[in-house]
Amino acid sequence: MSSSLIPSESLARVGEVLAGPVTVPIDRREAQRYAYAVGDENPLYFDEKAAHAAGYRTITVPPLFITHALVLPKPANTLREDGLYEDTTSVQLEVSRMMFGGEEWDFIEPVCVGDEITATTRLADLDQKEGSKGPFVRLVRETTFVNQDEQVVARSRQIGIAR
């Protein structure tokens, strides 16, 4: 077994809230910009009649849009050289590289334009594994999205791989 890539202070943070709760209204224009940007011109995102016919209260939004709706505006002078913002929620690890490993989503209730969504992100899991290229850390950030009626509308688990 190789030495630990996870400092004990970081391991102690499993379960901790990393970001939020933050509440954001689901805006029609932002959601439609997102839909056009991904090339998904589903009438459910643009046409109220189509949305009603399919059983929605009003027009709905691309499923993964809610992640981006919850990105808060930040000043450009906090950008790093790589273009990313300083991440105040990062978990300290003895690694040189963090990569996106994938995502898992559950969609529980519809999200429509005009909803107010509150998101809270927790450090759900942090563990070290042995891979073919040596040890790596699997970090799972779980976000719960709740609407204005206190219904959980979605859950996402973003998996980061660090080595």
Binding site: Y36, V38, G39, L64, E103, W105, D106
Partner: protein
Amino acid sequence: MNKYPTVGSTKVGDDLPVMRKSANEAELFLYSAASFNPHRIHYDRAYAHFEGHEDTVVHGPLQGSWLTQFVTDWAGPNARLLSVEWQNRASAFVDEEVQFSGTVIALDAAEGVVELEIVEQRSDGTTLMPAKAWVRLEDH
């Protein structure tokens, strides 16, 4: 005949219609703007090279949204996407055509739910993103 899959019309082993996608520089820029993502590897080719990438990198979540579109276009407006999961194995690059293909691997007729196995690949067959999705079909 109904345009979209129903419990009665769907069986394990059915293939979804293939979807091809690519993003040019302007489209990558538009996605960066729409998602408020300033990461330089998505618009600055020289910087992407500096970080060791072959070319300007297509955003992981953009491919995630291509994946949900692949499923919802097949399932139709009255179906409900219940869950989706994917693994990012390799990057896609600007102007590169990628292909989504998928198969029904399980069908729960009582619940009206299908499980799909999906893969996003490069034109040479390299897997970029293996994925799964669960959908409640429209007639349920």
